[in-house]
């Protein structure tokens, strides 16, 4: 039954380096894809919350960014299960989570919450863009000789209207009401989607670093931070590209260039205020968690301290808190904020959030359950097997790139980048 030919690879052995005493079966089983998973769901939740700031709380100056972040959050949402699929040893059995969910497990809720949330975002997008679908379909139907592409577009837009062609003022107002309602329901669901990702870690009593009731809240806060930062960064890049195209076509001083520039900065400086407040909340909670662990000094504190202040010191205090949190915070709060500085700050914040995920997921496995040894993780960079690709740099980059690819196609049908002015 068991093949006698050698080269049987133990899962985890290829990227785990053990030091001192660890139990024989201990390896770093949750790797880069489990770092990517909360990162992606965090982006989804954060992007959605950002769009809701406009839809629910009527922050008018966020209108353009809100439209974009709603559609972008949908693209991100579709990618959120991808790291999980890459991580599973039996990915072809993923539907078992939907078929026989075992509800005492935090992961079992994934199927339910994810589907619910996906449906909600899809509905919200539909209500926002229904008028657009109808208008596009109607204008194309009037056109006499349609090209093949136009015929396809006509067909798809017709389909997307779902037969609701009424775009009188009253009907559109009803749409807006529905959007507001969905966005309001969506905020707690988005927080739940991500909070429970934190619960997955926080509820593992065997793991001294993960086990903390603060974990879900920390995850939600850093999710909102990362989502806002990602939307801002992507928005800046896209608007800069538009500005560049306008400059090329019409020259530097043209009115349209100035218009884009002004609108862009206005949105960005408003968004960065939200970014900063969520950042403060996230850091406060993390520091509280850290202080509490040190102060109560339970049995596990000895090994946690040697990981945090010793082996992972650079990862936690320099890269995450220093470069990823403190530095961008200073950049944002100092007077004379400009676009270039905000761009740098959002990149640093995204890096900081990634490092936070890394330090939780990988850092939590950096010490043995026996508290007598350590494990080091070596990210597979050049893959030599499917496994080292999936759970290596290649797989991670694929997860990062896919939402942009999806967004490109989704945006063809629900244009989210046009200025409202």
């Amino acid at each position: 039954m068991i093949p006698e030919i050698q080269e049987i690879v133990v899962h985890g052995a290829e990227w785990t380096h053990k030091e001192l005493f660890t139990y024989p079966n201990e390896y770093i089983y949750w790797t880069i894809q489990i770092v990517m998973y909360p990162l992606m769901t965090g982006f989804v939740a954060g992007a959605f919350v950002l769009s809701s700031l406009y839809h629910v709380f009527g922050q008018k100056d966020l209108k353009d960014l809100a439209k974009f972040s709603l559609v972008f959050s949908f693209a991100l949402l579709l990618v959120a299960p991808m790291p999980l699929l890459f991580h599973l040893l039996q990915p072809q059995r993923n539907h078992h989570v939907f078929m026989t969910p075992h509800f005492t497990s935090a992961i079992a809720a994934f199927g339910l919450v994810f589907s619910l949330y996906a449906a909600l975002v899809a509905y919200e997008i539909w209500f926002v863009y229904r008028k657009h679908f109808v208008e596009t379909a109607l204008s194309l139907s009037k056109k006499a000789d349609k090209t093949l592409a136009e015929k396809a577009q006509y067909f798809i837009n017709n389909l997307l209207t779902l037969g609701a062609y009424n775009i009188t003022e009253e009907a559109v107002r009803k749409d807006e009401k529905a959007v507001k309602l969905l966005a309001a329901i969506g905020i707690p669901i988005a927080c739940f989607l991500h909070g429970y990702a934190g619960f997955i870690f926080g509820s593992v009593k065997a793991n001294a670093l993960w086990m903390s009731p603060l974990m879900p809240v920390i995850f939600i806060m850093s999710a909102v931070v990362s989502g806002i930062a990602l939307c801002m960064l992507t928005y800046i890049v896209i608007m800069e590209y538009k500005k560049f195209k306008a400059v090329m076509a019409k020259g530097r001083g043209d009115e349209s260039v100035l218009l884009i520039k002004g609108a862009e900065m206005e949105v960005i400086s408003k968004a960065s205020r939200y970014l900063m407040s969520f950042l403060v909340a996230a850091i406060s909670l993390e520091i509280l968690d850290l202080i509490f662990r040190g102060y109560t000094a339970m049995k596990s504190w000895d090994i946690l301290r040697s990981v945090m202040y010793g082996k992972d010191f650079v990862n936690i205090f320099i890269l995450q808190y220093g470069i990823g949190n403190l530095l961008p915070f200073l950049i944002l709060i100092l007077p004379g904020r400009n676009l270039r500085r905000v761009t740098v700050a959002t990149i640093l914040i995204l890096f900081g959030v990634f490092m936070m995920r890394w330090n939780v997921v990988i850092g939590g496995q950096a010490f043995s359950l026996s508290f007598s040894g350590f494990m080091h993780y070596h990210l597979p960079i050049v893959p030599h097997s499917l496994e080292t690709f999936k759970e290596g740099l290649g797989g991670a980059l694929m997860v990062i790139a896919t939402p942009y690819l999806l967004f490109y196609f989704i945006n063809k049908f629900v244009p989210s980048l046009g200025s409202s002015k």
């Binding site: 089983y29 991580h87 039996q90 989570v97 593992v204």
Partner: protein
């Protein structure tokens, strides 16, 4: 116009109206409903006793387990293993379990350092295996219900249903779980369920020449294992986690992790 009285009246009626259908709902266990006979209080509850005072670290139990349960022989992972503890006179604690102690302890080397016997305050061996917890965190966290507790107290994995997420591996405080390198699903000690349910002993119990390992029925008062647990001084591993292990140790030292 709603008066305060109306509001309270309607609220009470509303809450009662909602509560009534809710209390009549009962969550049922499909297996329990379909096979009620299997869930009557079973007459067997498997328990295990490890006498660390008798263990000499020969590793025959590990060898027997790997062969019986088809765990690839040349891999460091194992359903059971033996740890060596060396407490030096200066207070340092050295622990190792090379290749899960499959080949036994024949050297005075711990990893790369040779230990001088003169410096040793005390030293001993501790066999480890799945504790078949009464309150198993691995069963709790499985998202698809692929790992479950049998009525006679053994935790098993359904190899056809496990999705390989590794959550159970993370949740086990004892590190007994791993991924089977061939089947690519979660794997663990089963107390040799295929043997004990047919009246045989586990492979490790059979293989131990010193009687350091014993398995028995905790529901049977005359069972030797049940007797040891009820009359002798025994301890379990990591009881602070609240898992309620069913593997009991004689002569457990405070240094054992």
């Amino acid at each position: 116009m709603i008066t305060r009285r109306d509001l309270i009246k309607n609220a009470v009626t509303g809450i009662a109206g909602i509560a009534l259908p809710l209390v009549s709902v009962k969550i049922i266990n499909a297996a329990e409903t379909l096979f009620p006979d299997r869930f009557e209080k079973p007459s067997v509850l498997w328990g295990f006793v490890v006498d660390t005072l008798k263990c000499v670290g020969c590793g025959l139990c590990v060898k027997a387990c790997k062969e019986e349960n088809e765990i690839p022989y040349n891999t460091p992972i194992s359903r059971t293993w033996v740890e060596r503890y060396i407490i030096l006179k200066d207070g340092r604690v050295l622990i190792d379990s090379p290749d899960a102690a499959r080949d036994g302890y024949t050297s005075q080397k711990v990893r790369d350092t040779v230990v001088n016997p003169e410096n040793i305050a005390k030293a001993f061996f501790v066999p480890k295996l799945c504790n078949q917890c009464e309150n198993p965190p691995c069963v709790q966290v499985c998202p698809v219900g692929a790992t479950y507790k049998t009525p006679d107290g053994v935790i098993l994995v359904d190899r056809t249903w496990c999705i390989g997420c590794g959550y159970c591996i993370q949740s086990c405080p004892y590190g007994v779980r791993f991924f089977h390198p061939v089947h690519k699903v979660a794997e663990k000690c089963t107390f040799c369920y295929h043997r004990i349910t047919k009246g045989m002993k586990t492979a490790c119990v059979e293989a131990c020449p010193f009687g350091a390992r014993q398995i028995g029925n905790l529901r049977d008062r005359n069972d030797p294992v049940a007797k040891i647990i009820s009359t002798e001084r025994v301890a379990v591993l990591k009881d602070a986690y609240g898992t309620k292990p069913q593997v009991y140790y004689i002569g457990l030292d405070e240094n054992v992790r």
